[in-house]
Each structure stands twice: as structure tokens, then as C-alpha cells.
């Protein structure tokens, strides 16, 4: 549980309080909606891709601190990246959050995003952290909306809905 303390550290709380790249981009050419029905987390992503590069990216939405901070930091991390590199980060982030990639021992491009490594010990919160990244993947692949309850469910059976 010591990872939990690391999860809610100042960087994440700060991004939750003052999310970066918050809003919409007029004339963006990629859009996607991400929804986590169990939590009510909802992310609207708009991305402008020019010459295979993410020129600008912004998000709007409501969610828990983990989800909002993850979205905020993601937008900063992928801005200026070519699409293929952003997709690699989607995979790496998903791997880190679900525990299949150890960012300390395995090569990756996550950098500051390693701050989210602690969610792997909180299965019910993994979806919150991953939602923005799934939404980015959907936007880059021209899927209009995704839900973490669908086939992309990263951790089956950890729904928070049962009584």
C-alpha cells in the first residue's frame, strides 16, 4: 500500500486542480469520447494531427483525480509526437497500469508518467488511469467513442458496481 501514498502525490493533485490542455480545439481533425460507466468518468478528446504528428491536443470532462491527472499529463506527453510513437506510449501506459510492464526495469518512453505506476496495486482504479489513453487510441484510429466496460476492459471483473 505504500504505492498508494505515492499515487496521490502533489504532481497528480496539482494536475487534478489545474488540468493542462483543458478545453477543445477548434477545427481539430480527430475526436473521441471515453466513458467509464461505473465511475462516471467521462473524457472528450480533440486532437489535431498534421503530417502524422500530434500538433495540438486537448481534453474536457469529469472524473476522479486519477483520471483527470492522467488525461492532463497525457496531453502534455504526446503533444508533438508522431502518431506511431503516441501509440507506443498507449501500449506502455496500459502495460504499466496493469502490471505487465515494470517501468523501472523495462525500457519505455513514459518518463514523468511513471508516477501512475502505483495504480497497478489498486485494480478498481486502473480503469480511471487508462481511460484517457484508450480515448487517445480511439481518436487516432477514428473511433467515435469508447467505454472501459467494453472489449477494452483492462481488468475484467473489477467492476465497482456490485452491491
Amino acid at each position: 500500500m505504500s504505492d498508494m501514498k505515492q499515487l496521490y502525490q502533489e504532481v497528480i493533485l496539482d494536475h487534478n486542480r489545474k488540468p493542462r490542455n483543458f478545453g477543445t480545439i477548434p477545427g481539430a481533425n480527430r475526436h473521441a469520447d471515453g466513458h467509464n460507466p461505473l465511475c462516471g468518468d467521462h473524457i472528450k478528446l480533440s486532437v489535431n494531427v498534421q503530417d502524422n504528428k500530434i500538433e495540438t491536443i486537448a481534453f474536457e470532462g469529469e472524473g476522479c483525480a486519477i483520471c483527470k491527472a492522467s488525461a492532463s499529463m497525457m496531453t502534455g506527453a504526446v503533444k508533438g509526437k508522431v502518431v506511431q510513437d503516441a501509440e507506443i506510449m498507449v501500449e506502455e501506459f496500459r502495460g504499466m497500469a496493469t502490471g505487465t510492464l515494470d517501468p523501472e526495469t523495462q525500457a519505455n518512453h513514459l518518463g514523468k508518467l511513471k508516477i501512475f505506476a502505483g495504480v497497478k496495486d489498486l485494480p478498481s482504479r486502473v480503469k480511471c488511469a487508462i481511460l484517457p489513453w484508450h480515448t487517445l487510441h480511439a481518436a487516432l484510429n477514428a473511433e467515435a467513442s469508447i467505454s472501459t466496460e467494453g472489449e477494452v476492459d483492462p481488468v475484467p471483473g473489477t467492476g465497482i458496481g456490485e452491491e
Binding site: M1, M4, G161
Partner: protein, 409 residues
């Protein structure tokens, strides 16, 4: 004997899990509305059954089968007395409240509710008392009518009464709301429904653990509850059904034990309650439920009721005095549940941070999404109490909420 500071320690000592450390802190278990904990007496009873009494029931003539049958049926009588049902054959063992409601939907609803008929539910139902009726309505072309509630989370009785007409065929209602804690005036509402000839199912999942239940006094036609919310095992619950209704209902599942005779041409169904208990039941869990009822009776349900109300009042007083915290569900009559939201903090963050201090609360929509929509929140944080909780634990909750507010300020 009433529960108080001088005997609460002795009660807590019955529950081994309450001695657990979580995140290096003593466990503060405030998620009792989801599932309660099990005392050593029930654990011991289950172990004794498995070690000394287990066999299949209602079948063989050997010693163990006779013994297991006797203990299983004794558990049924305990449930009968727990609910003050007239006869033990009115008690059907189910997997829990959800299965009990589904049983009524299949056995009664599919036989007696048809096209254009109306089923009345309340706005505060758990999904378990919405979805089965919605499935029935879709299958039969029936219509769901919803009793609205006010901002305190109290049902609007005038509007409830106005819903009734000649098409109304069923009322399905929670006794106590799991998301809001509201205690509904179910006796009065049942009497009204009966004046229109409408049978009534009460979802007692949240009421049975905390207050004396008397199905004859309530005069309901069906009453459902779960064992694991009253210190028993999971996988067991019970449905009370009025004998005359159970007798004319269709079986729920087909299989062994629910038959009198079977040929490939025709099956004659067994009498109640066996008609509704196809296959080998969860014998161990049923006997465990019987032991849990014995345990609760030993303390006294009325004493539990009084003490848990005292805890709820204390928690309500403390939490409502906190700036930036809103209690969701402020009905005049409430039981055991304190749902709240902290301004600017998502409930899931609240839950995760409280867990760091060993405090277990529930966060989410509590399987009552229409309630969340009614109060315009995506989710709530919910502390729910049992008779083994203490005011000191509520103080820890309050301290935890303050810590969350400081982190997010």
C-alpha cells in the same frame, strides 16, 4: 441487554476479521450495507457442519443425509421465526435477495402479468429490483411506473397513490434504500396496494439486518433478504411468500427436488417450498444463515436497531457539521446508511484515500444509478454501519474526510 460502551468490546471480539490491520492501521469496516462480517459462532457452525454433518439432503436414508436434512430444515424454521412467517413452507431458500426477486418475477410475474399491465416500483430501487421487472415488461409488453421521491430521499406518497389504476398488477418496493438509507412506510403502502388488489414484494436486503421484521404485520406478499448482510455466508438468502400465492405460481427452475414424479411426457411438481428449490441447495450456507440468526437473536434485533440508529445519528451529526460535505439522503426515517459527497472530490478518490487509513467505505453508484441521476451525482461515498461499529470508528471516518479535504484543497 442494550449495546453500549461496556459490552461492545465483547461483541467485537466475536468477529475475528475486526482484528485485521489494513494499510498498517486497524480495520475500520464501514461497508456493512454491501456485506457484513461473520462472527466466530457462525464460522464454527459452518466448520462443524462440514466436518461432522455434511451430506446431500432430502434423498438418502443414511445417518448423514438425515442429519443434514434435519439441520437444513431447522434453518428454514429459524428464518420463519426471524420474519414471523406463519408457516415454514412459506420460506424458500435462494442465493440471495436478487435471486429471490427473480424467482417472483418468473414464478408470479410471467404467469400473472401481461400486456399493458403496470408494475409499480420506486425511484430508489436497487438494480436488483428494477432489472428483473424491466425484463418482464419487455417480454410481456407491460409498463413500469416509478414512484418519485423528494430531495430528502423520501417517496411521495400522494404520487404513489395516484399511480394506481385498474392496470396496476404489482408493487415492488425496497423496505430500506441501500443508497440513501431511507426507511419507507412499507406497511402503509402495502395496505394501499392491497386495497387495489395488488400484491406487494418488499426488498428487505437492507432492513432485515437492523430491525425486527414481521411479515404478518407488514402484510406483504413477498419479502426477500440476503444472508451475507446479516452476518451469515454469501450464496444464501430467503424469500418469504404467502402460501396461497406460492402455490399458484409457476416453478422458477426445473430439476431435482422440485418434482413429485417425472416421465418424459409430464412432470408433477413438488409442494412448496420444494417446488422452488431445484437441485442441491447451498446446505452449508443455509445452516450458517440459521446460526447467524441465532447470533443476532442472542444480541436482540431490537437492541441492534437501537444501537445502529445511535451510530447513524452520531455520524450524521458529525459529518453534517463539516463544511464542504453534503449528505445525500436526509429522510426523517433512516437506517444505517450515510451517503455523502465531498465538494470537489470524486468519491473514488475519497475511498482510495480512506483505505490508506484502514477505513473501508463503499464508493460508486451502489447499484442504484437512477438514484444517482435523481441527485445529479455520478457516484457517492457511503459509510454503512453494523452493531459492531463504534463511535470511535466514526471519529476516524471524520478525521479521514478532513484529510481528504486537506489533500485536495
Amino acid at each position: 441487554m442494550s449495546i453500549n460502551s461496556s459490552n461492545i468490546g465483547k461483541i467485537r471480539a466475536d468477529f475475528p476479521i475486526l482484528g485485521l490491520q489494513v494499510s498498517g492501521k486497524p480495520l475500520v469496516y464501514l461497508d456493512n450495507a454491501a456485506s457484513s462480517q461473520m462472527p466466530q459462532q457462525v464460522i464454527d457452525r459452518i466448520v462443524r457442519y462440514q466436518k461432522e454433518e455434511h451430506s446431500n439432503i432430502h434423498r438418502a436414508v443414511h445417518y448423514l443425509s438425515e442429519l443434514a436434512t434435519k439441520e437444513f430444515e431447522a434453518a428454514r424454521v429459524k428464518v420463519q421465526h426471524f420474519l414471523n412467517a406463519k408457516e415454514s413452507r412459506e420460506i424458500i431458500f435462494t442465493r440471495g435477495t436478487t435471486e429471490a426477486i427473480n424467482l417472483v418475477m418468473h414464478g408470479y410475474g410471467r404467469a400473472f402479468i401481461g400486456k399493458g399491465d403496470e408494475i409499480v416500483l420506486s425511484a430508489m430501487e436497487h438494480h436488483a429490483n428494477i432489472v428483473p421487472w424491466q425484463m418482464l415488461a419487455q417480454e410481456k409488453g407491460a409498463v413500469l411506473r416509478v414512484i418519485p421521491m423528494n430531495d430528502a430521499g423520501e417517496l411521495l406518497i400522494e404520487e404513489f397513490e395516484a399511480l394506481f389504476n385498474e392496470k396496476t398488477k404489482f408493487l415492488a418496493l425496497s423496505h430500506v434504500s441501500n443508497a440513501l438509507g431511507t426507511v419507507n412506510p412499507v406497511k402503509q403502502m402495502t395496505a394501499f396496494a392491497h386495497r387495489h388488489g395488488v400484491p406487494v414484494l418488499l426488498d428487505g436486503a437492507q432492513a432485515a439486518p437492523h430491525q425486527p421484521i414481521d411479515v404478518q404485520d407488514l402484510d406483504c406478499d413477498f419479502y426477500a433478504f440476503s444472508g451475507h448482510k446479516l452476518c451469515g455466508p454469501t450464496g444464501i438468502g430467503a424469500l418469504y411468500g404467502r402460501a396461497q400465492l406460492l402455490e399458484k405460481m409457476q416453478p422458477f427452475q426445473g430439476g431435482g427436488d422440485m418434482i413429485l414424479s417425472v416421465t418424459f411426457e409430464k412432470t408433477t411438481y413438488n409442494v412448496i417450498p420444494s417446488k422452488f428449490e431445484a437441485g442441491t441447495p447451498p446446505i452449508m450456507a443455509a445452516i450458517g444463515l440459521g446460526a447467524a440468526i441465532d447470533y443476532l437473536n442472542g444480541i436482540g434485533i431490537a437492541n441492534i436497531d437501537a444501537y445502529v440508529k445511535e451510530l447513524l445519528n452520531y455520524a450524521t451529526e458529525r459529518v453534517s457539521a463539516m463544511p464542504g460535505v453534503r449528505i445525500i439522503g436526509t429522510a426523517k426515517h433512516k437506517a444505517a446508511v450515510l451517503s455523502f459527497e465531498i465538494n470537489g472530490v470524486h468519491p473514488h478518490d475519497v475511498g482510495t484515500i480512506l483505505n490508506e487509513d484502514g477505513i473501508a467505505i463503499r464508493t460508486g453508484h451502489h447499484c442504484a444509478q437512477p438514484v444517482m441521476q435523481r441527485f445529479h451525482v455520478p457516484a457517492t461515498a457511503r459509510a454503512s454501519f453494523a452493531f459492531y461499529n463504534t463511535k470511535e470508528e466514526i471519529d476516524k471516518l471524520v478525521k479521514g474526510i478532513k484529510k481528504v479535504q486537506e489533500m485536495f484543497s
